[in-house]
């Protein structure tokens, strides 16, 4: 067919496909030297394409044909038996699940719906696993475990918190300023506790702070510590950083995150996020 000879991607497409035919790294390098010459930007485009060339199910299933292979209540994910779906986010489904091995308890199990870069997500979680285990605070929901399903999607096992988001709680209960502050302060303490352990949430937002009742009193709990960070390239609008990819919820993003300077993201970002939430 007559392809658009002027489309800027035409050349990179041809070279990229040609490189894939070469089997050894040496052959690839020689070919790239020859094909790209001095065009550095072309060369780096091709190299990025090669990094993004993976043999998985990305885009292979049409946008309207999902779910068929998804988990149902009663299915087992690792040691956990799914009881019921309790939530759904853009990228993930959360189930109430029953742990039967070792400890018998109910947990929240969050399964990421898209199978992109599962090893990367798990690896990022593993980096924090030790620190997460040291985190113990009544206003932080514990994260117990992470793994991948048979279909290769990552999942996270967390303390089950039955509650609604903090903003919804305040609206529904028509909370006074005093009550709001009483909910606000423990969250500050929880975030500080995590920061002292070296853990940054990176996606503090109302949906990640649930209010539950313990002994008749409303108790706020931050969920997804360690999870949001591990899942970053999947959630919401991607933003590039100097150190790689990361993502947050733009409305609650701190200036140094939005400013594309990955280096500047530290404990202060979470404080900013929380400040933004509080203003709501």
């Amino acid at each position: 067919m007559k392809d658009e000879p002027l489309s800027p991607g035409h050349k990179e497409c041809e070279i990229f496909l040609e490189v894939l035919e070469k089997t050894t790294p040496e052959e690839r390098a020689t070919y790239l030297d020859h094909a790209c010459g001095d065009d550095r930007s072309l060369r780096s485009s091709i190299e990025t394409l090669l990094q993004n060339h993976k043999d998985d199910d990305f885009l292979e299933v049409p946008a309207y044909k999902r779910n068929a292979a998804f988990e149902q209540p009663g299915d087992y994910i690792g040691d956990y038996k799914l009881v019921a779906q309790i939530g759904e986010g853009g990228w993930s489904i959360v189930y109430k699940a029953e742990q039967e091995q070792r400890l018998h308890r109910f947990v929240a199990l969050k399964i990421v719906q898209i199978g992109m870069n599962t090893p990367e997500v798990i690896a990022r979680f593993d980096v924090e696993r030790q620190a997460l285990a040291l985190m113990e605070h009544p206003n932080i929901a514990r994260v117990f475990d992470a793994g991948s399903t048979e279909a290769g999607r990552p999942y996270f096992v967390m303390e089950l918190v039955s509650g609604v988001s903090i903003t919804r709680f305040c609206d529904e209960q028509k909370c006074s300023i005093k009550t709001r502050l009483e909910l606000f302060v423990p969250i500050c303490e929880a975030i500080q506790h995590a920061h002292q352990k070296g853990i940054i949430h990176r996606d503090i937002k109302p949906g990640n702070i649930l209010v539950t009742f313990i002994g008749g009193k409303p108790v706020p709990k931050v969920i997804d510590f360690g999870v949001a960070k591990a899942m970053q390239p999947l959630t919401n609008k991607p933003v590039v950083t100097a150190e790689g990819q990361f993502i947050g919820t733009p409305a609650y993003m701190s200036p140094e995150q939005a400013g594309l300077k990955g280096r500047g993201v530290d404990a202060r970002s979470d404080i900013y996020h929380w400040g933004r939430c509080f203003m709501n």
């Binding site: 496909l17 999902r66 991607p238």
Partner: protein
């Protein structure tokens, strides 16, 4: 049907800037008409397949014969895929708004749905792919057309290749490129 022939002539001669737009709305209306017709005659709970819907629109708008000249298949299928993409993206936006807002919210500029989708992909995925496709469409239009046909219409590789008037082998190669490019684009979007 006279319309189709006229629009395609305009597209071919490239002397009618509105031809592509006209074809898109014509195809969309036809898809909507067929979908409404099917939904009325089928039992509740029946879900339509975009692939079948598009195929039927093709047969109706382009009866075998003169209208099939002028590379009409490519023009038609790209327009149909575009209609399907818009529909699925609007659906994803509504779904995301419902997730965020707790209940259904109006999303501006959204028509009533073509048909019910029983098993949609997560809205964030559809929207991310859609965004990335915009960049791909500038970089490599045929690659973006192929993704529309495969991902939004659900065509298999042979049919998509036929619709785009290329060999299956070419389509398979283009698909490899499109996937790598879109994965890259979703991870690190091009700044506009």
């Amino acid at each position: 049907m006279g319309d189709v022939t006229r629009i395609l002539k305009g597209l071919r001669a490239e002397d009618d800037p509105h031809a592509a737009e006209e074809l898109a709305s014509l195809v969309y209306e036809e898809l909507r008409r067929i979908a409404a017709c099917k939904m009325a005659s089928e039992a509740a709970g029946h879900t339509l397949q975009p692939t079948a819907l598009v195929h039927e629109a093709w047969l109706r708008l382009f009866p075998a014969g003169k209208a099939r000249r002028f590379h009409s298949s490519k023009h038609f299928f790209c327009a149909a895929a575009e209609a399907m993409r818009r529909f699925l993206v609007d659906h994803a936006r509504r779904k995301r708004a419902a997730i965020r807002g707790g209940n259904l919210q109006r999303v501006d500029g959204v028509d009533s749905p073509l048909f019910e989708i029983a098993h949609p992909a997560p809205p964030e995925e559809v929207l991310a792919v859609n965004e990335a496709l915009k960049a791909l469409a500038i970089r490599h239009p045929s690659a973006a057309e192929l993704v529309n046909l495969r991902y939004f219409v659900g065509m298999d590789m042979s049919h998509a290749a036929e619709a785009l008037d290329m060999s299956k082998r070419s389509a398979e190669r283009l698909w490899v490129y499109a996937r790598a490019r879109l994965r890259q684009e979703i991870g690190n979007p091009t700044k506009n």
